[in-house]
Subunit: 455 residues, 2 copies
């Protein structure tokens, strides 16, 4: 490992030059005018993976943007196989005027590299490439079988990934998946994410009268759909901040005492958190802490309400229709379809009989909770401990990474979420950046991870 | 009167052409981008009033939209003076896609004229113009003194009218005011309105976090402003359909036994009313009938809610802000400022402490209740009886015509509400229209009214 670290150190300047080249390609997947840039970026990556010594490196066309796949599987059938997953597409860049440097002209400043995609996810993909390059350059081979799956549609919902995985089960078969697309718990605080919340995203449509009415001429005699919608929404939570849908918590796997102890040890200052959001107070489900609320407990949020007159000033309309987008974050072992069904039954039951209600399931994903032990998790834990000089925290994330669920259900492989970004690196926002320290430590941690996996 | 009727009949086609021209002007008073259209409309009307023979016709600038004033006061000081009041501004047109013909391309269909402003209030203003034109054309003079005050801000609360009236007390002095901006009780059923509800139009602004957040990363720990808003709105009414604001009913003048008896005699079929609106059921304040709900009792309606993601599909946002437009209809003797203050105190009291709430008073008007007798009321009763061939009903209206209150308190003149619209003519909604029969009968009734007033 000393030789590998020496290689990483002595080639650092070249690595950054290459990363700048990678980050200069405007691979915005959601913008059709950038389709050829996304394709160019996929090809660039394929060539690069060949150049570092991967045995095969291929661009697979999909109905959307291409998928890059490379492998180096020379360690034999007894050695474990790891599938690295990442993405080379990036978010749009607007509002452009808020960027200090142009988003596709990567700039080094204050120990960081500023560019769209630097932390999400090209920088993190690239540090794995460099770790593998170093291992191959120093040892001539890898101690494990490595497969790399890097897609170009993560920022638009990984539309064609599931199909690709199902069509290439043998190609992708593996023992462990590793993903570097989550943040560290904090600067210098490595963490391993073992839980992701699921999602159940519904829309409730309330219909009252068959047309918009004058509230003066009709008000007082019929249910106002906006009022009815508010009454429904107000009944979705009780006074303890719990979700009032019958059976909602039935399958929730409660936090273990050990997990709650771990949570209590995480550095977190609720008052700083509150101040940062500028709210008069925090709230949440009774009996749980704020950290638990945002990552380990199921939640319900109204994401949008549509109805009536929404311009400037006053219009005395009694609207015909109103609707609300309402999403729930789920935790193990809730099932998104079961929750959608319970939500629908409850909303239909509490809706005033004087309006019509329709409930639509917009989309969903099941939660993920993986074991904190196991070969991949243990290797990652040791690698992070050695690279950062401290034991990693085990954390749960409040959001969803739907691909983890694909790996779990289709490939039957657990995912190690070993991220090197930071919460405040402006992923999806202007001035996105990536810490060069974490780039450097990440390369080393990544090579340690592949090494420990072989043990 | 026979000659007048003949004149009205033989000029009917031209009148409709002129009305189409009037209705084609998009005089939407609430939309700043239509300011010049409103001004153009005022000028058009001023010119038209000159052309029919009014002795003076003037556009008065205000701090907002202009006021048109015309008069023909040649009947001498002994003859009564009537002030006609109407408005040439109209409501916004959204949702535009629900209109059969473009709202400012008036179209004749099924004996009706379809256009924004056709029944509220340009069509009704215009029939008075044509009645006066006919009387002047046939007799060369009028039996009474006529003043016409037609404003351009009725749909935004007549913001500058009170100031104008106070500044022009002599100009506007009169014995009776006549307004045609209320509906007939039903097709072929003339009515005289003796009560109008007042209005208190508020906006509630709820602020949560200082920026839109990802509901996955923050959901569950802080109050969602949309959820908080819904909880506030749900508490505005109790389970008896009564408004829950403390003190809201304190000053309400209850219906007399005689009035309730009159109400019970009005032809009204609640089941037909329900079917016409296509709602599963009616509702309203416990202990009162539907007719009483919509005209004689105070009410509260949510007119619009703004907040979060309202596009197609799903976005997992926890919004920073949400707001609701909420209006209350008031009855004698409620006071709009008193109600605004009670509303504000209550909303502030019930708002969750974890959000910030601001309550804004957008505009208001006090209710009106007038005597059913008097010179103007008697002349109108006779005119309607003769034009429609049956005695008019005395009714109360659910909407507000705040200016009636101004005439009562400042000009000390009673207002006759002699309307020719129909309840289902979609005032404020797509496909607003006006019956050509009522346009025709209205012109005749109007000329009879001015004649009987002279007796």
């Amino acid at each position: 490992m000393e030789n590998i670290q020496a290689y990483l150190t002595s080639n650092q300047d070249r690595f950054i030059k290459e990363l700048i080249e990678f980050l200069s390609i405007p691979s915005i997947s959601t913008a059709p005018e950038h389709n050829s840039d996304v394709a160019y970026c996929g090809n660039w990556l394929k060539e690069h993976l060949s150049s570092i010594g991967m045995k095969t490196s291929t661009v697979y066309a999909t109905a959307g943007h291409p998928i890059v796949y490379a492998e180096h599987c020379e360690a034999g059938p007894e050695a474990p196989t790891v599938l690295f997953y990442g993405h080379y597409d990036v978010q749009p860049i607007d509002p452009l005027h808020l960027w200090t440097n142009p988003p596709f002209e990567p700039t080094l400043r204050d120990g960081k590299i500023f560019a769209r995609g630097s932390t999400d996810d090209k920088g993190q993909v690239f540090l794995h490439c460099k770790a593998i390059e170093a291992m191959l350059a120093v040892n001539g081979t890898l101690p494990i079988n490595v497969k790399m799956l890097i897609e170009g549609e993560e920022e638009i919902g990984s539309i064609h990934l599931e199909h690709f995985i199902r069509e290439h089960l043998d190609l992708l078969s593996c023992d462990t998946v590793v993903v570097s697309d989550t943040p560290l718990y904090g600067p210098g605080m490595p963490s391993l994410c073992y839980g992701l919340r699921g999602l159940c995203y519904m829309e409730v449509h309330v219909t009252g009268p068959n047309r918009d009415l004058h509230s003066g001429s009709y008000g007082g005699s019929i249910s106002n759909p906006l009022q009815a919608l508010c009454e429904i929404i107000a009944k979705l939570k009780d006074s303890y901040g719990r979700i009032a849908i019958p059976g909602f918590y039935d399958n929730v796997k409660e936090l273990t005492d050990e997990e709650r102890l771990d949570y209590s040890r995480l550095p977190f200052n609720a008052e700083e958190f509150r101040k940062g959001l500028d709210v008069p107070g925090l709230c949440g489900e009774y009996g749980y802490t704020t950290l638990e609320h945002i990552s380990a407990r199921p939640t319900l949020d109204v994401n949008g309400i549509i109805g009536g007159f929404t311009g400037i000033g006053a219009k005395t309309v009694l609207p015909s229709k109103a609707s609300a987008k309402i999403s729930m974050r789920l935790v193990a072992n809730q099932d998104t379809l079961d929750i959608a069904s319970k939500f629908t039954s409850y909303v239909e039951a509490i809706a005033p009989p004087t309006v019509q209600v329709e409930v639509e399931n917009l989309h969903g994903a099941n939660p993920v909770l993986v074991e904190k032990t196991g070969r991949g998790m243990n290797a990652a834990k040791k690698a992070l401990q050695e690279a950062y000089g401290r034991e990693p925290y085990f954390t749960r994330e409040g959001g969803s990474i739907p691909v983890c669920l694909l790996f779990d259900t289709i490939l039957k492989a657990p995912t190690v979420l070993m991220g090197f970004g930071l919460q405040d690196e402006n992923a999806h926002s202007p001035d996105e950046h990536f810490s060069l320290d974490n780039f450097r430590i990440g390369m080393y941690a990544s090579s340690l991870f592949y090494n420990y996996l072989a043990e």
